[in-house]
């Protein structure tokens, strides 16, 4: 750090020259800026996404403060629209997706026995683009108003007539930038998973989390082009007067809904499948038995991925598609509950008869299963067309998708944080604080969203910035607000826990959870090169089978001492000396430079064409520098 501060400001050319010369010798902040190490990139993803989580959370608290009592006056209608739009957009694109990407980055190479991802610089590019897109979109708060048409951005709310400011422009340009980040990372992880597996790591020996990452990545590369086109259509309409969503010219705003939900429903599974993968890793470890019905869990994940393409119009029952279309999409939506149900029964059966080690990651996983069941079942209620007619645009829908995205995805992601934290920091998160975090969050969550279910049944519409008293909504809204602040408290407990644990002198023992998969064979924190020697995999749950054999009754019997020697045989023989010969990819500035070009283009499209030219030049400098520099020393 000190060395970086001593430096005079560098010209770009000089910095690039030094980048070549100095190779891996960067220190402090520079070592993070040029890094291509998947663990560092994963860490940056996690910290950034968590910062956005706090922002989105504050937006949620503002919403709840406004709605706590009838005729609330915390926000006016305009500000309220901006806040709920940015809350949704932030939580989907800047929190849950990048938190999932955090785990892809951190875990995938370790779980398949690789030294890094297939394209380390592309990986750095993904992160920087994500950061650029997130900041770009939030800048709109400072430049005259954030987006205000909802995270779904329905036409014609987004047209110039109804949203004359620049908020919507920031929204679609920001989403385009974020889409590039998601696609780049999805391509990278598909190639990594298909091509970089250690010897013996056949597809059906891969941990379920790796499978779910693969399915999610395929969903991303096929779903994002659709929303990319939708956002381009919106861009042409708003910036250059095209007619895609203009009824006066014969266009139909429904086209947007089709484009958005054809992307949007796979997106729902993009959000939940990684969390399902995490839970599928946590449950076997803490039940100390293999995942029940591994092939069924894998195939149901794949099936969910496929079926997610045939259900989008269930978001559009009330738009007048006709009863044939509604029935067809109703049936497909009911059917997609089947593979989801299969997973839930497999998770329960994994716990059944296990010797349960009830630690924080398992608390969050069980919380995930229970809350996701409620979310899933309310989803089945929405699939019934007549029932949905009643629920459309009420708080029941709000409760439903928070039930799956918070009660589901976020609980699963927190399970992952508690589970894998020691691997990268060498320290355990404190168990007591972890359980307090869980209980506060669980109680707060239910206190927030179960009242919303009832509010929806009572007919309270979504997206209203205030309501009159005396409609039977007052007490329930107040409860929901109290619940939201309880969740906020639980997040403070989590932050405290992270700080205390990181400062603690107490080091995590090796293989602290008696793990089953390759990552737990590594020293903690994991060294830059991951595996001193690329492992050879002999079975599913390879590490478990190295540690245990089964007796006649099928009970596990230890062959090597658990905890002390989680490392595979041979790991110690090579010691630390081995890594000097390991070829690692070189750090690079170019992904960052290329990424910086994108928001400049974005600002240019809003304000001035000259900036577009500047942005394109920066982007091209980044890309050409990237293409021409050698990938490794």
């Amino acid at each position: 750090m000190a060395r970086a501060l001593e430096r005079r400001p560098l010209s770009i050319g000089e910095a690039l020259r030094r980048a070549r010369e100095e190779g891996a010798t960067y220190r402090g902040i520079w070592s993070w800026i040029v890094t291509v190490d998947h663990k560092r990139i994963g860490t940056m993803y996690g910290v950034t996404a968590f910062a956005f989580f706090l922002m989105g959370g504050i937006e949620a608290l503002l919403i709840r403060l406004q709605l706590a009592t009838p005729n609330g006056s915390v926000l006016d209608a305009e500000k309220y629209n901006q806040v709920f739009t940015m809350h949704g957009t932030t939580m989907v694109f800047l929190v849950v997706m990048p938190l999932s990407a955090t785990f892809f980055n951190l875990m995938i190479p370790l779980m398949i026995g690789a030294r890094d991802v297939a394209f380390p610089r592309l990986n750095a590019f993904s992160y920087w683009v994500f950061l650029a897109g997130g900041l770009f979109m939030n800048v709109s708060f400072l430049t005259g108003g954030a987006p205000d048409a909802g995270w779904f951005g329905y036409a014609n709310l987004t047209s110039k007539a109804f949203s004359p400011g620049h908020g919507i422009d920031y929204w679609f340009l920001g989403l385009q930038i974020l889409g590039i980040a998601s696609m780049a990372s999805a391509f990278n992880f598909i190639v990594t998973i298909l091509n970089m597996r250690a010897p013996g790591m056949s597809l059906f020996r891969m941990p379920v989390f790796v499978w779910m990452t693969l399915v999610t990545s395929f969903l991303i590369i096929f779903a994002f082009p659709v929303i990319t086109v939708g956002l381009f259509q919106l861009m042409f309409d708003r910036l250059w007067g095209a007619n895609f969503f203009n009824p006066a010219a014969g266009g139909t705003p429904l086209l947007w809904q089709h484009m958005f939900w054809l992307f949007g429903h796979p997106e729902v599974y993009i959000l939940i499948l990684p969390a399902m993968g995490i839970v599928s890793e946590v449950l076997p470890t803490f039940a100390r038995k293999p995942l029940f019905g591994y092939p069924f869990v894998v195939f149901s994940g794949v099936l969910i991925g496929l079926m997610s393409w045939g259900v989008w119009a269930h978001h559009m029952y009330t738009t007048g598609l006709g009863s044939v279309a509604n029935s067809a999409f109703g049936i497909s939506t009911i059917l997609i509950a089947v593979p989801t149900g299969v997973k839930i029964f497999n998770w329960i059966a994994t716990l059944w008869g296990g010797s349960i080690n009830f630690k924080t990651p398992l608390y969050f996983s069980v919380g995930f299963i229970s809350m996701f069941i409620v979310g899933g079942l309310t989803g089945v209620m929405h699939s019934m067309v007549p029932s949905d007619y009643q629920q459309q645009d009420t708080y029941f829908v709000v409760a439903h998708f928070h039930q799956v995205l918070f009660g589901g995805a976020m609980f699963g992601l927190f399970a992952g944080i508690y589970y894998w934290f020691p691997l990268f920091t060498g320290r355990m998160l404190k168990e007591t604080w972890g359980q307090l975090h869980f209980w506060l969050m669980f109680v707060g969550f239910n206190l927030t969203f179960q009242p919303m279910m009832i509010l929806g049944m009572l007919g309270m519409p979504r997206r209203i910035y205030t309501y009159e008293g005396g409609m039977g909504w007052d007490a329930l809204n107040l409860m929901a607000t109290v619940g939201a602040f309880t969740i906020a408290t639980s997040i403070l407990v989590f932050i405290y826990n992270v700080v205390v644990s990181l400062r603690s002198r107490e080091r995590a023992p090796a293989d602290p959870w008696d793990g089953r998969t390759l990552e737990w064979t590594l020293p903690m924190p994991v060294p830059a090169y991951n595996f001193a020697e690329i492992p050879t995999v002999h079975s599913r749950d390879d590490l478990w089978h190295r540690k245990y054999v089964e007796d006649e009754q099928g009970r596990p019997v230890l062959v090597v001492a658990a905890g002390g020697s989680g490392e595979p045989p041979g790991h110690n023989e090579h010691g630390d000396g081995g890594h000097h010969a390991i070829h690692m990819p070189s750090p690079s500035f170019f992904p960052l430079i290329a990424a910086i070009g994108l928001p400049i283009i974005g600002f240019g499209l809003i304000y001035d064409w000259a900036l577009v030219a500047v942005g394109v030049v920066v982007l091209l400098v980044g890309l050409y520098g990237w293409a021409l520099e050698p990938a490794s020393e």
Binding site: F119, T228, G251, A627
Partner: protein, 199 residues
């Protein structure tokens, strides 16, 4: 030349397919959905413009057929470029890379001419649904061709400087995959936009 030193021998991948080639195939698969969405929007709005000019008033099928033929021929020269580098024929590589790029530029010029012509005859992005969908669909295809031309010219410069050795034939192969995809996309667009009953 200083970067032309052989990198470490390519690590064997689990599928046997080179990482970069797999990446390109995945990217092209994803592009199918991109063009699919644009084409779907075009088809949805076909014959729904409430004011003219309509496709039948503007299309010059013989002209566009010729420029389509030029683009398709560029796929042939692309294949010849790849064959040249694979057998170590540097001169052939340069000739065919340049030829492919020039054919691409010819196609783009044709498109620029067509756009200008249509604009003169009263069709712009905001005129009607036909203008909106036509310019956006064919414009994005043109943008893809432009990126392809940029890649081809970059490869051509590398070849001139002797940096495209036969071991680097994958670079040309990947550019070729992209180029062929853009051609195939045009075949679909040309059929859907120009040939299927323009009114």
């Amino acid at each position: 030349m200083q970067h032309a030193q052989a990198l470490e021998p390519a690590l064997e991948t689990s599928t046997g397919l080179d990482n970069r080639k797999l990446l390109m195939w995945l990217f092209l698969a994803s592009e199918c959905l991109f063009f699919g969405s644009l084409i779907a929007a075009y088809m949805l709005y076909r014959d729904r413009s409430v004011v003219g000019p309509y496709p039948g008033d503007l299309f010059d099928i013989p002209f566009t057929s010729v420029s389509s033929f030029v683009l398709l021929m560029s796929s042939l020269s692309m294949v010849l470029a790849l064959a040249a580098i694979q057998r170590g024929d540097q001169r052939g590589l340069r000739i065919w890379l340049l030829c492919t790029a020039l054919l691409g530029i010819t196609f783009l010029s044709g498109q620029a001419f067509e756009f200008t012509e249509f604009y003169r005859e009263g069709l712009s992005l905001d005129t009607n649904l036909f203008g909106t969908t036509f310019f956006v669909l064919t414009g994005f295809h043109g943008a893809h061709v432009s990126v392809g031309v940029l890649i081809l010219l970059s490869l051509f410069v590398m070849a001139l400087r002797g940096r495209l050795t036969p071991e680097k034939s994958l670079n040309v192969e990947l550019a070729g995959l992209y180029w062929h995809f853009v051609d195939v996309a045009w075949v679909v667009i040309f059929t859907v936009v120009y040939l299927v009953t323009p009114t």
